[in-house]
């Protein structure tokens, strides 16, 4: 391998980072669906000629696709797919349409650009294509194996027509797909320019060196924080939507033969319902890597260079390695719990760098029907919740655990859909107590203005988000419907599809909070009192969780607080490393 001087290398790194953000910009501007545009549910990357991600955030799936075409790649080819089983789990449910483009420079393959984004609807038995009660993937919409949507620059109209014909929202999907393609083309153009500027050989050598550089950094981190003696962590997904659960997920981490092993042995068998997470092994590696990078040095370029340092064990037929045709659409609960286990296990070796558990999924609200003019509408919205207590400070109330997502403006929703939001606020007492308080969940109250059907997908209704390093667990999620006819408040489950609603009915949607970080008795009492004044914590919780005594006017009683805290500390002793708030019935 030829070497590239360190400066050129840094320039290429910066240029690729710029190109990757340019991809986001292009996609967000062109797409039509609020899920991609307002909430940014799209993930771009730029890879080298072997398909290894150099910049981006999800990575890893290119070689599995290239293999299927025996390496027959041509300039102007663009591939598309959405079937998780046909791409070794590179994407994990049918809603994600993935676009991939080989990049050529003077006829030589120099890399790939790729983006996947969440389509509002890809067919199947329910609007939104994520039936909570699916038992096979056949119920979850059209499955497209990797195919050429552009063949040497020529659009394959047939493939596009089939894909759009199987969606309830063809116009949106068309625009969103074109947005993803435009994003990939942008990246291809930038990579071509870099090859022109520095020479193709230099560019390609540089991409290898960027991988090596991240690998070297990861090697240091691994040797520092992973030992031969295993650390384990167990967390649970509430249920699979069809009456089974909770589902156990267990992760053990240890060094073996110079590799860091991430072993999921002990994780429950695949579920009957659609919470199975068919994850690509490479993605697992990436997720561990990015967590380490973000916790230790966020400026390290995040890429696939360190893959050979990791080994992943995913028991066959388990939640994380399900057999075809297991249903997959609601895998986000499992996906997020994957991250919770990772934080819990890695945190034990470096408590000062550990994070508590968050709201634990990506809560969805879907409302469909026909308006007064007979026009079909389909509102799909992602909600947010408590972002965990962390070493840096308090968790964030009602914020996105997922990167770069943001809430759709309520005025936007009310302009386009027959719904009125009555209130939108953090859920009191849902942030787990801690030196750094866990973030609170969200309560959004929807009043539907037309009859129709609603679907809800959420989790952490049973198993709360745990606290860490002495921090306590946070609040669970909950949903109610208040029927206009009766005025009665009726609890509804966290996973439900096509619930009939009438104009005037109200849905109260509460997401989970998150766990606290550190000993709550160490939290400055004045901050607890402030949270009470802001109606984020109740006076009762201040007393019970933090040992903070407030007067009737919510003023802080300093003396009584100090006395109570001293007593509580003596009684409790050293705090537990984890606080779960949940005991499985059969351990």
């Amino acid at each position: 391998m030829s070497t590239v001087d360190p400066i050129t290398l840094d320039i290429i790194e910066n240029a690729l980072k710029n190109a990757r953000f340019e991809m986001d910009g292009v996609v967000v501007r062109i797409s039509l669906s609020p899920v991609i545009r307002e909430q940014h549910d799209e993930f771009p990357m730029i890879c080298n000629h072997r398909g290894q991600m150099i910049v981006g955030q999800f990575g890893s799936y290119i070689p599995a696709i290239v293999e299927q075409f025996d390496g027959d790649l041509n300039e102007g080819d663009i591939f598309v797919w959405n079937d998780p089983y046909a791409c070794k789990g590179s994407i994990s449910h049918n809603n994600d349409w993935c676009v991939m483009m080989p990049i050529f420079h003077e006829g030589v393959l120099v890399g790939f650009s790729s983006i996947f984004g969440h389509m509002v609807d890809v067919g199947g038995k329910v609007p939104g294509s994520m039936p909570f009660d699916a038992r096979t993937i056949w119920e979850e919409g059209l499955r497209v194996p990797p195919v050429r949507i552009y063949d040497k620059g020529v659009l394959n109209e047939g493939v596009l027509a089939i894909m759009l014909n199987n969606s309830r929202t063809p116009d949106m999907n068309r625009a969103d797909l074109m947005a993803l393609i435009a994003g990939c083309k942008t990246a291809a153009k930038r990579v071509g320019e870099l090859c022109d500027r520095f020479g193709r050989e230099t560019y390609m050598a540089a991409t290898d060196m960027l991988l090596d550089r991240t690998r070297d950094a990861m090697k240091v981190l691994i040797s520092k924080y992973i030992s031969e003696e295993p650390v384990s962590f167990t967390d649970y997904v509430d249920d699979d939507g069809v009456g089974n659960g909770p589902f156990k997920m267990t992760l053990s981490i240890y060094m073996k033969d110079g590799k860091a092993v991430f072993d999921w042995t002990g994780t429950d068998d695949q579920a009957e319902g659609p919470i199975n997470f068919h994850i690509h092994e490479g993605l697992c590696k990436l997720f561990f890597g990015v967590y380490m990078i973000m916790a230790f040095d966020p400026d390290i370029l995040f890429n696939e260079g360190f893959y050979d340092l990791f080994e992943i064990i995913l028991p066959e037929g388990s939640l994380l390695n399900p057999k075809f045709p297991a249903a997959l659409s609601n895998r986000l609960n499992t996906h997020t719990r994957f991250f919770d286990c990772q934080a819990g296990a890695l945190g034990q070796r470096a408590p000062h760098l550990s994070m508590a558990a968050g709201y634990g999924t990506s809560p969805h609200f879907i409302f469909t029907g026909h308006d007064s003019e007979g026009k079909y509408f389909q509102l799909m919205e992602l909600l947010f919740g408590g972002v965990p207590g962390r070493p840096r400070g308090d968790g964030l109330d009602g914020h996105a655990w997922w990167p770069l997502f943001s809430a759709t403006p309520i005025e936007y929703i009310e302009n386009y859909y027959p719904v009125q939001v009555d209130s939108y606020r953090p859920v009191k007492d849902s942030g787990g107590p801690g030196l750094h308080r866990g973030g609170a969940g969200i309560e959004k109250v929807y009043r539907v203005l037309e009859s129709g059907k609603i679907s809800i997908h959420d989790d952490r209704e049973v198993v709360p988000p745990w606290g860490i390093n002495g921090g306590l667990f946070g609040g669970t999620s909950a949903k109610w419907i208040v029927r206009q006819t009766t005025g009665e408040k009726e609890r509804i489950p966290s996973k439900i599809d096509n619930l009939e609603v009438e104009a005037g009915d109200v849905i109260i949607f509460r997401t989970a909070g998150s766990g606290g970080w550190g000993d709550p008795y160490e939290r400055p009492a004045e901050e607890v009192a402030r949270d009470v004044r802001y109606d984020l914590v109740s006076p009762e919780k201040a007393l019970e969780g933090y040992g903070v005594v407030l007067g009737d006017d919510l003023s802080l009683d300093v003396a009584a607080t100090e006395k109570l805290r001293a007593e509580r500390r003596a009684e409790r002793g050293e705090p537990e490393p984890f606080n779960f708030g949940f005991t499985p019935q059969s351990a």
């Binding site: 290398l9 039509l32 973000m294 916790a295 809430a407 009555d422 209130s423 953090p426 109250v445």
Partner: protein, 685 residues
């Protein structure tokens, strides 16, 4: 006589223009951050003495100020009360729920306190729907009680931002009446006035930001007026808006949020001037200062306007010149990452204190300026002679960073510059290629203290020629203010599909906005002949999240015909910007009317240079590092370069307020307006 005043972090720059003889006088005085008006008054005194004019003869003062920006960035604004619709008290606290990327970005996110505290927020029982119809009537009795509670708690300003107030401001106005009656001293801003557009968080934060800076701006402006009066000035004071327009001091104290990008606006306006005078109609403005670099696009002699900007972590949806800022400047610090051994430049900055190592004020970490010193681009003594640079110190500091990468001091210095250039290049690319413009169709105007040091390298990377170094790059902003025009924008959000729409609904609304515009022009006393009114529609494909602004000429508005032409223009623009057009209905989002009042152009007379021999301009020949080797490089005094002579590169061109690096394979020449142009030799090949 007109006076332009630009208050920067370190210096207050002033430029005086005498229309009667075309004379332009400049002055510089230290800024006084504790109270900027002191520095301004000092500067006015100084420039009047220097020019030998009577302060009374100054008719207009045009002032760009960072008072509003600094208050937000430093968290030193007023205590703002906030009235919202009941149920939406946490709008600012939840801040759209956004967290940064990549995955786990929240681990390192720092979220600032909202500009209006939760303890100063009250939910009012009332509600409008998206069509502006009342869903829940305003409960005046409860509202009054809540207002009493809030307004007697010590707030300094009040924001009223209710759901869908852009569609019907009735409730906001009713609340304002109640406040006015009971608390006449508390200034009130309505979201329906400040930003009548949908998206509740953006509207609320923008309006709150207005109130957050309002008491400060008001105090500042009245102090300035007092001080100027005591210096004997009776001139009208105008403030430069973020979009480069002017507003009266009075308007600025009511709507200071419109001044958050007042500072950088001058440089852009100047670049517009340069574009119009030199006939180079497409230019990139490249303003490289100590801690950051601001870039923007001038397209066919017009600046580009953006609908929103960010001040620190907060969005502000006000029309601004589309200026991109990146954290790379002369003071940006270079270091080596421990884990990956990669060289990084910025965003950390040495600032004015301690400053780069070469300034000899105690700085120890090498900055971009130090790299320029090491390579012999910045001379050891700056022209004017009052500042000596510590060359050995810079070399040692840069060498230390280089040693970690097995690089010599020269290679490390070159690396620091290359990486800083790459970061700035990213910003230039965002405003050109990302918008569908080819940078090779543009020239680049270099200003700010460090701009001319780097501009030639930027041009080489992007292919944007010529590099234009103006006569006075150090005071370009203040000069730009002199040519700013009066400007105000009148907007109406009107979300409706254009499919089957009665076009009259658009024309009627345009007529209403036009009436408001004329009323404003009257109030600002803009003479009829100087007035311009422009019309535009914000359009998008149905349900798309971003709008494309389509200009409409006056004749079309007055003809009140169909909208087909406008929609076709939108399709064309969308295709040009994003490479694709869709066959779905087009939706109207907002109507805009922009009123402007022209000001007289500055006619600058240029001092003639005697002789025609470049050798007369030579100060000395000293080594500079180009293309991997030391080259004996001539250093010229810009003021002595004769017109019409080609200066071959490499060369260093020095002047009072900046230093220009002319790279090998390039040449420089003066054009008739006194600007220095740099071209690649290949241009003439």
């Amino acid at each position: 006589m007109r006076l332009g005043v630009d208050v920067g972090g370190t210096f207050t720059d002033l430029v005086l223009h005498d229309e009667s003889n075309g004379r332009v006088v400049q002055a510089k005085t230290p800024s006084t951050p504790e109270d900027q008006s002191i520095g301004v008054a000092n500067g006015v005194k100084l420039i009047c003495e220097k020019a030998g004019v009577d302060p009374k003869d100054i008719s207009l003062i045009l002032h760009g100020t960072t008072v509003a920006t600094n208050a937000v960035l430093e968290g030193k604004g007023a205590r703002v009360g906030l009235l919202v619709s009941e149920g939406f008290e946490y709008t600012l606290h939840l801040a759209k729920s956004w967290t940064p990327g990549p995955l786990f970005g929240w681990i390192v996110m720092d979220k600032p306190e909202p500009l209006a505290s939760l303890k100063d927020t009250r939910g009012i029982p009332e509600r409008m729907n998206a069509r502006g119809e009342i869903v829940t009537p305003l409960d005046r009795e409860k509202a009054t009680a809540l207002i009493d509670d809030l307004c007697s708690s010590g707030i300094e300003a009040l924001t009223i931002s209710l759901m869908h107030a852009y569609a019907n401001p009735e409730h906001e106005r009713a609340l304002a009446e109640i406040v006015k009656e009971r608390y006449p001293d508390i200034p009130v801003s309505l979201s329906s006035d400040i930003l009548p557009e949908f998206r509740e968080y953006d509207r609320a934060i923008t309006t709150v930001m207005n109130d957050y800076v309002r008491p400060i701006m008001k105090r500042y402006l009245s102090r300035i007026e007092e001080r100027l009066a005591s210096e004997g000035l009776s001139s009208r004071l105008h403030i430069v808006r973020s979009d480069g327009g002017l507003m009266s001091a009075n308007a600025a104290s009511e709507r200071p949020v419109h001044t958050v990008l007042s500072g950088p606006a001058g440089g852009v306006t100047s670049t517009v001037m340069i574009a119009r005078r030199t006939g180079i109609r497409n230019l990139l403005a490249f303003d490289m200062g100590g801690t950051s670099t601001d870039v923007s696009v001038i397209l066919d002699g017009e600046p580009t306007i953006s609908r929103s900007t960010e001040v620190g972590s907060f969005p502000a949806k006000v029309p601004t010149l589309d200026v991109r800022s990146v954290g790379a400047g002369g003071g940006s610090i270079a270091d080596v990452s421990e884990l990956t051994n990669s060289l990084r430049v910025g965003p950390r900055s040495a600032g004015a204190r301690p400053g780069p190592v070469s300034y000899g004020r105690g700085g120890t970490e090498p900055a971009v300026s130090d790299a320029n010193v090491v390579l012999g681009y910045l001379p050891p003594v700056l022209l004017g002679g009052d500042m000596k640079l510590d060359v050995d110190g810079a070399r040692e500091a840069v060498g230390r960073v280089g040693a970690q990468l097995d690089l010599g001091p020269e290679e490390a210095a070159q690396g620091i510059l290359d990486i800083a250039n790459e970061v700035m290049l990213g910003a230039l690319r965002v405003i050109t290629v990302q918008r569908g413009y080819d940078p090779r169709d543009f020239g680049i105007v270099a200003f700010g203290g460090a701009g001319p040091l780097h501009a030639n390298a930027m041009a080489e990377l992007l292919g944007c020629y010529p590099v234009v170094v103006p006569t006075n790059p150090g005071v370009l902003s203040a000069l730009g203010f002199l040519e700013a025009e009066f400007k105000n924008e009148f907007v109406q959000t009107f979300i409706r599909s254009t499919k089957g729409m009665d076009a009259d609904m658009v024309w009627t609304r345009f007529a209403e906005l036009q009436d408001k515009a004329v009323e404003w022009l009257d109030a600002e006393e803009v003479p009829t002949g100087d007035r311009t009114i422009r019309y535009s529609l914000d359009l998008r494909y149905e349900q798309q999240g971003f709008e494309v602004t389509v200009e409409i000429d006056k004749a079309t508005v007055e003809a009140r015909g169909g909208l087909e032409g406008v929609i076709e223009r939108f399709n064309e623009l969308h295709e040009q910007l994003y490479g694709v057009r869709f066959h779905v209905p087009v939706e109207l989002v907002a109507l805009r009317v922009v009123a402007t009042g022209a000001t007289m152009p500055v006619k600058e007379s240029i001092a003639a240079v005697e002789g025609s021999d470049l050798a007369d301009a030579l100060i000395e020949t000293r080594p500079s590092f180009f293309k991997g080797e030391w080259v004996d490089t001539p250093n010229y005094d810009r003021a002595k370069i004769p017109p019409g002579v080609k200066v071959p590169g490499p060369a260093i061109i020095r002047q009072y307020d900046t230093t220009t690096v002319l790279l090998p394979d390039h040449y420089a020449e003066l054009e008739p307006h006194g600007n220095l142009l740099i071209w690649p030799n290949s241009k003439d090949a």
